[in-house]
Each structure stands twice: as structure tokens, then as C-alpha cells.
């Protein structure tokens, strides 16, 4: 039974996107991985072809589609065997903050650019001393004569080098209640006082420009605050469900891709006693991997349906984020074993996936944080 009701339009969208990625992305991936960045021109081509912000209403330049279009983009990017082209973070995690909470004026100002690939966004929450513990954030936002003055530093920011517009979480030091101190602000990259730090070297996601961002007396108009003052935590809570679901889609898509390649390798490679998949141990390993991927896919698809129906599924999406990211890691680790020494060569495509999936149990809230949330809501 197919849980997701893909329409003809979705199928056509997927086919067009697959062709686009095969022509415009796949041939360049190795180079981008070496250069540690994706050219902005790719975003522009992709945006103009209608693959960025596919779920954003058409009146703001979006594709007017639904979350399934977003799912398709994540799955198809996963098939290009790299993780640097972070349009899903932009389309499905950052832009929704603008769409839901920015003033009509700001929406008209920024969203069309976000959809056509001219504006690349980032979200800046994590700080050097505030990772899992978001509440310990130290970046401040103080009102000063109709303006907001931002001070602080953020780290591990996806699209950090390329970004034109950043959603920044910062605290008002004068707020009475800790939980009502947090607000989200829109900062344009050219604003005086805003600067980018170094690009961070990491295990995987090499084509992804992860960087530090600094705010030093960075003044923005008060109207660049998203929503009412002090409602930052509420907005984060509202949007984290989709963020976790997006990670789960990424994880399941990555695991499916790895499994497909491992299957093919084991069918096509001769071992001591015939093709590797005739080895009982390797066949059982593939069976176990297939089972895990299937369980992940089934759970994920169910959550996608519920999410699209507007259900509040914080517990389930937290479960999915932690379980599928661990699953993708297990599948990647086990798949390398099946490739033996070829599993240690970068020319074997799943080696990159192995390096990339390792971060999934860390970003968008570590898996320990997920379990803490579930424990708080479900157990305690």
C-alpha cells in the first residue's frame, strides 16, 4: 500500500528535477566537494527551473506545491551522492519562518528572491557555547531607537559563506523571563557589523559551506523581527516538527541509496564462492539492512501524511529524527563492510555518504536531545 498520494504532477516534477540534477549537478559534484562550496549560479538555475521553495505559495514566487514536492527534492538530491546543495534547508526549514512570521512587506521583499535562487538563506541558532542547550544562547538583541542591535557569534551555520539573508536567534538581555527573551531576526548579509568567519573543515558535507557568523553592533530595522518580541521559542517549537521530519527524509533517502548500491555491488562482484550475495552472511546482512530501511520508510511516510494533515506530531518526528539518522549510520557502516577494501576508497560513492550521514545524529538537535524531548513528553 502506498501511503503517500503522489499525483501525476508530483511524478512529472520528480522526472523534471531528476533530469535537471543529472545535467546541472551530478557532473560537478566532485569538483564542488573539493572546492568546499556550491556556486551561486547553481541555486539560480535551480530556482528559475522551479525546484527551490516548491511548497511556497505562487503569489510569493514559489511553486505552489505541497510538502511532497519538498520530499521529492530531498530524495532526488540524495541520489546525486552529495549533501552540499542545501536547498532543502533553505526551502523547507528557513523560508517557512519568513512565510509564517515575517510582515507582508518583508515577505514581498524577500520571498520571490528566495524562490528564484537569488537569495540564499541560513538559520543561525547554534553558538560556540550553546549547542544542545539553546536557552544558554548569548547573542543579544537590544532595541535602540527604532533599531535592533545584535551582538554575538554563531557557529556551524549551513550556507554560512553563500547566505544573503540569515534568520538569527537572539536574546533581549532586558527581558524579565528567560523564555520570553528570545526573538528571531532577519539580517541581510551586507549589513554593517555582520561578518562571516572561516569556513569550517569537517568529516563530510564537503561541498557544504558551513561557517561561523559574527554580529558586532549589527543594526537592523526593528521591523526585521519575526513576529512579536519574545516569541522566538514558540516559533522554533512550531517549526521544529518539519525540521526533524526533513532530516528523517534525508536519512531514509540516504539509507535507500546506500542499500541500492550495496545490493548491486554484492550481485555483481565475485567472491570466493560465486557472487557475494550468495554468501549467506552477506545475504543476511543485506536482508537486515533492507528490513531496517523498510521500517524507516514506512514510519516516515506515515509521519509525512500526518504532518501534511496538520497533526501535531512532535514526539513522533523526534523519534523519527533519532531513529532514522541512527539507521542511516548503521546502514552506511555495514555497507562499507560489504565492499571490503573498496569501502575505503573515495571512488566508491557510498564512502562519501558514510562521511555525510554521520552528522545526521548531531544536527537539528542531537539524538540525545530528541530522546530527552520524547522522555519529557511521553515518559515523565
Amino acid at each position: 500500500m502506498q501511503l503517500l498520494s503522489y499525483t501525476e504532477d508530483h511524478h512529472r516534477f520528480r522526472a523534471r528535477l531528476r533530469k535537471f540534477l543529472a545535467e546541472e549537478v551530478t557532473p560537478h559534484v566532485d569538483q564542488w566537494e573539493k572546492e568546499h562550496i556550491i556556486p551561486r549560479a547553481v541555486w539560480q538555475k535551480m530556482g528559475r527551473a522551479g525546484f527551490i521553495c516548491p511548497a511556497l505559495p505562487k503569489e510569493y514566487g514559489g511553486g505552489g506545491g505541497d510538502f511532497l514536492h519538498a520530499v521529492i527534492v530531498i530524495e532526488e538530491i540524495a541520489r546525486t551522492n552529495h549533501s552540499g546543495l542545501a536547498t532543502p534547508l533553505h526551502s523547507d526549514i528557513v523560508v517557512p519562518y519568513l512565510e509564517s512570521y515575517a510582515t507582508e512587506e518583508l515577505k514581498r521583499k524577500y520571498l520571490p528572491g528566495c524562490a528564484c535562487g537569488d537569495i540564499i538563506t541560513a538559520v543561525a541558532m547554534t553558538e560556540p557555547n550553546a549547542g544542545s542547550d539553546l536557552a544558554s544562547m548569548q547573542t543579544t538583541a537590544e532595541e535602540d531607537g527604532g533599531e535592533i542591535v545584535l551582538n554575538g557569534s554563531k557557529t556551524f551555520i549551513t550556507n554560512g559563506i553563500n547566505c544573503d539573508l540569515v534568520v538569527v536567534a537572539a536574546k533581549d538581555p532586558r527581558a524579565a523571563e528567560a523564555h520570553q527573551a528570545l526573538s528571531l531576526y532577519l539580517v541581510e548579509a551586507g549589513t554593517p557589523g555582520f561578518s562571516r568567519g572561516r569556513r569550517l573543515e569537517k568529516m563530510g558535507y564537503h561541498s557544504q559551506d558551513t561557517a561561523e557568523l559574527f554580529f558586532n553592533n549589527c543594526r537592523i530595522p526593528k521591523s526585521n523581527r519575526l513576529g512579536a518580541a519574545g516569541t522566538g521559542f514558540y516559533m522554533l517549537m512550531e517549526k521544529l516538527q518539519q525540521e526533524r521530519l526533513v532530516v528523517a527524509v534525508m536519512a531514509v533517502a540516504a539509507a535507500e541509496g546506500i542499500l541500492e548500491q550495496a545490493m548491486r555491488y554484492c550481485r555483481e562482484t565475485m567472491g570466493p564462492k560465486g557472487p557475494l550475495n550468495r554468501s549467506q552472511a552477506l545475504a543476511f546482512a543485506l536482508v537486515e539492512m533492507s528490513t531496517e530501511v523498510k521500517i524507516g520508510r514506512t514510519f516516515l511516510d506515515k509521519l509525512i501524511v500526518e504532518h501534511m494533515a496538520g497533526s501535531r506530531i512532535i514526539v513522533e518526528t523526534s523519534m523519527a529524527k533519532y531513529w532514522t539518522s541512527e539507521m542511516a549510520k548503521r546502514i552506511a557502516d555495514r555497507a562499507l563492510d560489504l565492499f571490503s577494501q573498496a569501502g575505503a576508497l573515495e571512488k566508491t560513492p557510498i564512502v562519501r555518504t558514510f562521511r555525510d550521514v554521520r552528522v545526521m545524529s548531531i544536527f537539528a538537535g542531537t539524538n540525545e536531545i530528541m530522546k530527552g524531548i520524547i522522555a519529557k513528553m511521553k515518559i515523565n
Partner: protein, 381 residues
């Protein structure tokens, strides 16, 4: 099992050497430029850390595999990559030391133990490092020469080694694989083509290459050990170096653990040290336990080897257990570091990759289990 005073001194010396000489920024540079740490090897060799288990007449330490394991563990603990590179400098020399004649050993081992030459051994011909069912490389006799033809895969130090021990068929293929010999091939012989395998998941400073031999001629006297004993010699070599690989894995795990432990004792979130959270504490307990288990089986295997009671079952068990443990411990170390764990700067991601390569070389988990099962189950009636 208690270390002798001399073993404790060697361990301490290796720790001090690693502390003084390893520099993570240099490691990252060498990894990126794919350059072997030649100077470091020289220094390590001067202090006697290369070929500890080789006889003194060939520049070795005249010591045992336990000593070699202690050094491998200490070096990898301080830097998984540089430690591995130093240990792998002699990869293949172990085989020459055991089976080569005096002349060969004088010519090559002295240079290896002096850190002036990398060793090379070319056994496998498939993706699986310990699978010799595929063995098509031939050595045919012509007057007083061997003529070698074939392609060897995944040769450590391939292209950089001062000699290669090549596993060849000297007789027509038959079921027992008995007509197999190890033949020493000098790298400057005509007909050798080295194809580097490119970027790797880890250990990029150590060369890895496929080597093709096309009518490569070497003197008959280049035979290592006995004709017909090639496979047994290759297996004995693997049984020895699996223990060394296990020791590297223990070091890698211990190094990832050291870093994670220091971090959780210092990092605060939710107004507490990470080390105050029960989940963190239990992760630390699990990691420490796993390392200790793997260390025990590794040194047990090494000690038996030194007593002349080398046990291939124990070698396979040690390699399998220690490599898996190292992957799991380094993985957990990354998780404890959170986002920082994924960054090159904190090293643990490199430890994780280095650990995984140990699991993939010298036979995967499945290969080790095949070997253990063969030995444990024996021939069925």
C-alpha cells in the same frame, strides 16, 4: 597479565615520543597533500620504534610482538593517523623477517628498521584482503629467473616501497593451492606498473595502489621461504599483523576516548558538565569497558605469539573485536562532542575513519568469522 619493566619503559618512551613529535595540524596537512611522514618515521626508527620484534642483527629491537603492540597502541592513541603510518612502514617486513633468507634480511630489514625504506607486500587480487581463492599471478621459471605476470590489488605503500613480496602461482592451478610462492620483487624492475587508488576514506598519507606485473624478471634466489609454502607464509604473516592492527585499533579507541572524556568533563550545557548527565556517564562507562575488553584479547594474542604459541583463532578474534570496538568508541566520541565532533579540528572524526579502515583491511568481520569458524569447527566427519 603484567607488563615487564622493560615493556613499561618502551610504552612510556613511545608515549613521550608521540607527545613530543605529533602535531594534529601537520597530520591534517599530510593527509590533504597525501604525503608520507618520512621525517617522523626517521625519528621513530632512531628511537627503535620500527621493527621492535625483529632480530637485532637486522636493526630490530630483538623484542616481541607485545612490545610492538605497546608502541602501536601508544602512537595511535596520540595520533591515529601518524601512528598508523609509522606502524605500516614495516607492513610486509614482518613476513620477510620470518621467511626471508639472511641476505635479503640484511639488504632490506636494516633499511626498514632504520626508517629509510617502506616495506611492501602484494598478496590479494580482489577487494577482499585475505581472500586468496582468486590468485592468478604467475611466476614461471626461465633459466635462472622468475617471470612474473599478474595484478595485485590494494598494496599498502604501493609505489613507495623498497621491495614487494609478491604471492605467485609457480605451478598450474589446482585445488590445494599448493604451488604458490612468495617472491621478492624490487620496485625498479622493468614491467611494473603502479596505479594509485586515489583518495581514501582515511590514511591518505599512506600510499595504496594496485600493482601490475608484466613479464617482470627477478633472480630465482628472490624466492622467499619455500616454494609451495607461499600461502601458509601469507597466512602466518596475516595472523601476525592482525594482532598489530588490533593494537592500533585499541590505541585509536583509547585516543578518541581520551579526547571525549576531557571534553565531557569540561563542556557545560544546561548548567551542568556533560559528565554529570547519566547518559553521558554510561556512554563513558561503555566505551571504557569496550576498550579494556579489546585490549585484553589483543595482548593475550600477542603474548601467546611471543611464547611461540601463535593462535590464528585468537588473531582473527582480536582483529575483529578490536576494530569493531574502535569504530563504536570513536563513533560515540564524535557524538559526545556534538557538532564539534564532526569538525576536523577535534580529531575524533579522523579517529573514526581510521578505525573503520582497520575493519575493512586484512579481512572484514565476515572473513575473520570464516577463519574462526574453520578453526573452531574443524573438519566435519
Amino acid at each position: 597479565m603484567e607488563l615487564t619493566r622493560s615493556q613499561k619503559e618502551i610504552q612510556k618512551a613511545a608515549q613521550e615520543f608521540a607527545k613530543g613529535e605529533f602535531d594534529k595540524e601537520v597530520t591534517v596537512e599530510l593527509e590533504q597533500s597525501r604525503s608520507y611522514p618520512a621525517e617522523l618515521l626517521q625519528k621513530a626508527a632512531e628511537l627503535g620504534f620500527v621493527g621492535l620484534q625483529f632480530a637485532e642483527e637486522y636493526g630490530g629491537g630483538g623484542l616481541g610482538l607485545v612490545d610492538a603492540c605497546l608502541v602501536a597502541e601508544a602512537l595511535c592513541r596520540k595520533d591515529s593517523t601518524m601512528g598508523s603510518a609509522v606502524v605500516l612502514a614495516a607492513f610486509g617486513a614482518e613476513c620477510l623477517h620470518r621467511f626471508g633468507d639472511k641476505k635479503m634480511k640484511e639488504q632490506y630489514l636494516e633499511q626498514v628498521t632504520a626508517g629509510k625504506m617502506l616495506a611492501g607486500i602484494a598478496l590479494g587480487e580482489s577487494d577482499r584482503g585475505d581472500d586468496f581463492t582468486v590468485l592468478d599471478t604467475t611466476a614461471t621459471r626461465s633459466d635462472n629467473e622468475w617471470i612474473i605476470n599478474g595484478k595485485k590489488r590494494y598494496v599498502t605503500n604501493g609505489g613507495a616501497a623498497g621491495f614487494y613480496l609478491v604471492l605467485c602461482r609457480t605451478e598450474a592451478k589446482h585445488a590445494e593451492n599448493s604451488g604458490v610462492a612468495l617472491i621478492l620483487v624490487e620496485p625498479d624492475r622493468p614491467g611494473i606498473t603502479v596505479a594509485d587508488l586515489g583518495d581514501k576514506l582515511a590514511l591518505n598519507s599512506v600510499a595504496l595502489a594496485d600493482i601490475t606485473f608484466a613479464d617482470v624478471r627477478v633472480p630465482l634466489t628472490n624466492l622467499v621461504g619455500k616454494e609451495g609454502q607461499g600461502l601458509a607464509q601469507a597466512r602466518a604473516f596475516l595472523d601476525e599483523v592482525k594482532i598489530l592492527a588490533a593494537a592500533r585499533a585499541v590505541g585509536i579507541a583509547a585516543g578518541a576516548f581520551d579526547r571525549a572524556l576531557a571534553y565531557v568533563k569540561q563542556r557545560e550545557q544546561f548548567e551542568r558538565k556533560l559528565a554529570q548527565f547519566q547518559i553521558t556517564r554510561h556512554k563513558i562507562a561503555d566505551m571504557a569497558t569496550k576498550i579494556e575488553l579489546a585490549r585484553l584479547i589483543t595482548y593475550r594474542a600477542a603474548a601467546d605469539f611471543d611464547k611461540g604459541k601463535a593462535d590464528p583463532t585468537l588473531s582473527a578474534m582480536a582483529k575483529m573485536t578490536a576494530a569493531r570496538m574502535a569504530v563504536e568508541v570513536a563513533d560515540e566520541a564524535i557524538q559526545l562532542f556534538g557538532g564539534y565532533g564532526y569538525m576536523t579540528e577535534q580529531e575524533v572524526e579522523r579517529y573514526y575513519r581510521d578505525a573503520k579502515t582497520i575493519e575493512l583491511c586484512l579481512g572484514t568481520r565476515e572473513s575473520q568469522k570464516d577463519r574462526i569458524a574453520d578453526l573452531v569447527i574443524g573438519k566435519l566427519k
